[in-house]
Amino acid sequence: MTRCAMLKHTRKEGMVSKLLSILVIDENTIRASIIEAGLREAGHEKVTVIHDVHAIARRIGEVQPDVIVIDLENPNRDMLENMFNLSRAVKRPIAMFVDRSDQASIEAAVDAGVSAYVVDGLRQERVKPILDMAISRFNAFSRMERELEDARDALESRKIVEKAKGILMRSKGLSEESAYQLLRRTAMNQNRKISEIAQSLITASELLGG
């Protein structure tokens, strides 16, 4: 597993026309398919997706990837990097990222939550579009997840406010509109969210056996 043995193997650039083999490792199946689709749209035909890393050494042997894309949440990155150092599992040397000097790409990738490993000697202009694609799809996926979460939160708050209104209508004999106005005014006065006020009211009501 010496470094010098790895570096001796730097690949020649005689294979420019060959299609790159890309391996995507992501336990999140939805995100993996979003990335796979993006890569295929960009004309990459040799894309393999792995969700489960257990038999990964064998799969890497079969796929012979030029580029490996992996999500940063994956705890198996240390295992994967070690594998790159062992010639037994991976026949070709793999370096990390497009280029060590391309700090901007590295930052964008880590910010997006993705990392890439590239066969040593592969030219930067061939790999950069792949990494850029992965970064933008990772970011898009996070955005989508955030929106979904916001929507879920909104739905949840609406349910809480409805319940709190019901309590006020029953206990104070208010109309639905007045109950809502009371919650809203209290929230504004206390500089809190209306759903927080509603939740406090529900909790208090439960404590009081209401």
């Binding site: 470094r3 940063l72 705890p75 198996n76 990155r77």
Partner: protein
Amino acid sequence: MSASDPITAGFLPLLDSAILVAARERGFAEEEGIALTLVRETSWANIRDRIAVGHFEMAHMLAPMPIAANLGLTPMRLDLIAPMSLGLGGNAVTVSHTLWTAMIGEGPVRPDEPATVGASLRSVIEHRRRNGEVPLRFGVVHPYSGHNFELRYWLAACGIDPERDVEILIVPPPLTADAMAAGRIDGFCVGEPWNSVAVAAGLARIATVKAAIWRSSPEKVLGVNEDWAGKHEEVLARLLRALHRASIWCGAVENHEELAALLSGPAYLNQPATLLHGALDGRLETGGETGLFPDFFVPAQKAAIFPWQSHALWFYSQMVRWGQVPHSAENAEKARLSFRPDIYRSALKALDVPLPSASMKVEGALVAPTAVGVSAGQLILGPDGFFDGAVFDPAQLDDYIASQRPASC
């Protein structure tokens, strides 16, 4: 202090993140005017990358990681320094029930005597080979880790070739129990609480501990971005003082219950406090009995957080031994200078605490607690023996490396 300097540090969910957690949760960082944010990570690779891109200024780190980074062994270029260690010990070797049963069939096995455990393991391996069975598989958390090196040291000293007689795989700490349950590994060397987690799940036995293989041995360090450290000397000095106070708090037995409760929180280790409390006291359920292991994890006593350059050189000697890096005077110097006792001393000199006068010591020489030369007050070191009685003298690095070379080379 009015202004607060922000520092973000990464950590992995392990018992020896204790000093960082205490510095934040018990207010030691705040008292030094530092707003310390701790971010739990899922891999050492993430820790390294996030330091490289500036998300973290520093992190809880495997002691050999800064050495590997400075030797250019990591995929991403990054210069790291270790101005402080984060305690001594804390690891164990854990094996499956099947393997343990086979081992006790070979002779008496005592977890506090690694030689007995190794002798039985060697017999099991010989039987398996005669029967044409596949080699046993052991998991460690990282190639550049105390775990990898202490496991290999122990195996080799017991006549087991770590390269040929067993297979050593990389398994992330929180997945070790799963990997054993799935039968992918027969044993592992990992930091607490992950040995105790596997034992509590009824999956495994603790076979021996790091503190028995090499008493008072280094494990994690505070790994700091060298570039950042150069530009923020004063902030770093304040943080080191905060961590020093936190380490003393962590080392006091009467605080272990509270420390265990802190570490058990969902943002930290997210494991039962009782399980962590035992490990802090050096009291481990091994799977058959309650074992008491002296100095199992030492966060403060015996200059536990002093970054000995002899520790750095020992790790380097093992990196050479297992073919991770070729030996040269230049490489050895890079390894030694990865640990920075000078920064430690200059940060702590304002406090009235005993600071070791030397930056290196002969490892394995102390058979009993011994007072050593310090700047002020008194400092007791040791015992610090290797289980096989060997001694590492950093002044004789070349000879040590030569003596450990496999016979076939």
